[in-house]
């Protein structure tokens, strides 16, 4: 019979907490930068410039149809042959941004397309500039529509970010790998880490639905 030994895991618990904090930082940073990429790509896709649309479409299809692990290997090991050298941590961030951007673009685009044409025409008729129409008439209501998909995509991003430990970037999974190699209590370490991920994803989705209730309360129709 196997005797579980959680003592070394809790002795090194501060390492795991630090790892969890790094995972949150990495995910939030990737989400914010990835959102900017998504909005830019979504604007490019709806701009009507065909070659731009092709490039963005190719980007989305390539990212969505290849595994994140291969993407991060390509960025970390492959890009140096083009003269682009990244530390594990920045490669992790770049890979997560690139990955999130592809999914985010489709989410934002769906939001933009949910805005009726008449609204945009009304905005133009009121004398708003192109930028103002984009910001007030398209972006704000579109964000409300896409909020649920964006937040679940963020949680998915946070779970995916555990893969960055494969290139020895710093995060919760990497903290677990280190603790595991110090204590040899593999199962105990990984079950504790898995619970920590679960707590983070349940926590974030609770916070997100609270924000949704507070921020998007104004009436939906009329």
């Amino acid at each position: 019979m196997y005797a579980f030994n959680f003592e070394p895991v809790f002795a090194g618990f501060d390492q795991l907490l630090l790892g969890a904090w790094l995972t949150i930082q990495l995910s939030v940073a990737a989400m914010i930068i990835g959102l900017i990429v998504s909005i830019a790509c979504a604007a490019g896709k709806t701009s009507g410039i065909a070659p731009l649309r092709w490039v963005i479409d190719a980007y989305i299809e390539i990212i969505r149809n290849t595994p994140f692990l291969v993407q991060i290997f390509f960025i970390f090991f492959g890009l140096p042959s083009l003269g682009i050298f990244l530390t594990p941590n920045s490669a992790a961030l770049v890979a997560l941004v690139v990955n999130f951007g592809a999914y985010g673009t489709e989410i934002i685009r769906a939001g933009i397309e949910s805005i009726q044409k008449g609204q945009i025409e009304a905005g133009t008729a009121l004398g708003l500039s192109k930028l103002q129409v984009f910001r007030y008439i398209i972006m704000k209501p579109a964000l409300r529509t896409v909020y649920p998909s964006l937040t679940s995509q963020f949680i998915y991003l946070m779970l995916t970010s555990s893969v960055v430990s494969a290139i020895s970037a710093d995060d919760l999974a990497a903290a677990g790998n280190n603790l595991q190699s110090q204590t040899f209590a593999s199962f105990e370490v990984y079950i504790v880490i898995t619970i920590m991920y679960l707590v983070m994803s349940v926590g974030f989705s609770t916070i997100f639905s609270m924000i949704e209730k507070a921020a998007f309360k104004y009436p939906l129709s009329r």
Binding site: V70, F77, L159, Y197, L198, V202
Partner: protein
């Protein structure tokens, strides 16, 4: 013999052929996940509270934790249960459980999308649970389920790449091995990504087409 060999046509084929293990792993996990997923979906829509609770918990845990951790837990957990360390078995079991949770949640939505009047009519006609599900609800849910299920298959194929981290030699791991021998990561991981793309892209396009056709067919 030089220590580092160039990336040539042989290395290219070794990587392409490793896709068979990715396909095999995906197929087994998909088949196992199909059975598990149906069970989870049926528990999830059951009238009794306990089965519903169990299914919800199962889905929550697998959707709220990284697939990588699920793989590690099965990998090390099997050792604790007295099995020899076996990446093949661990990857298969972990991916099957993972697929069961995701397919269970997808199919729950599809079952619930069947209008309740159908089930009520079947009950009124005197059909018991098994016949009601078998002849009335599930066939209609199946139609709704095809597109999102194909979409999940793409996710599952990509997910099998993580088996490389526990040492199962599929497409990604073969890429790492070839990269260690040739040290041309740009070519190697470019090729690996291209093979995944060839596997996944047609399925993505298919899923999107079916979704479009379905939404046109059901639109008024």
């Amino acid at each position: 013999m030089p220590l580092i060999r160039p990336f040539g046509i042989n290395e290219f084929w070794i990587i392409v052929l490793a896709a068979q293990w990715t396909i095999a792993l995906s197929a087994i996990a998909f088949a196992g996940g199909g059975i598990g997923g149906l069970l989870i979906a049926l528990l999830r829509v059951s009238d009794a509270k306990l089965p519903r609770l169990i299914a919800t918990g199962f889905i929550r845990v697998f959707q709220g934790t990284p697939l990588l951790m699920q793989l590690f837990l099965v990998f090390f957990g099997m050792n604790i249960l007295g099995f020899a360390i076996n990446p093949w078995l661990a990857a298969t079991v972990a991916l099957t459980l993972h697929a069961s949770a995701f397919l269970g949640e997808i199919w729950r939505g599809c079952i619930e999308a069947v209008p309740p009047g159908q089930r009520e009519a079947a009950t009124a006609l005197g059909l018991r649970y098994y016949n009601r599900m078998r002849y009335i609800v599930l066939p209609q849910a199946l139609k709704i389920a095809v597109a999102p299920t194909v979409g999940f298959l793409v996710q599952l194929i990509k997910g099998t790449s993580l088996a490389a981290i526990i040492g199962f030699t599929e497409l990604t791991r073969q890429g790492q091995i070839i990269n260690n021998a040739t040290f041309s990561p740009f070519m190697v991981f470019g090729t690996v990504a291209a093979v995944y793309f060839v596997l996944c892209w047609p399925l993505s396009v298919l899923a999107r087409r079916m979704e479009l056709r379905f939404s046109r067919a059901t639109a008024r």
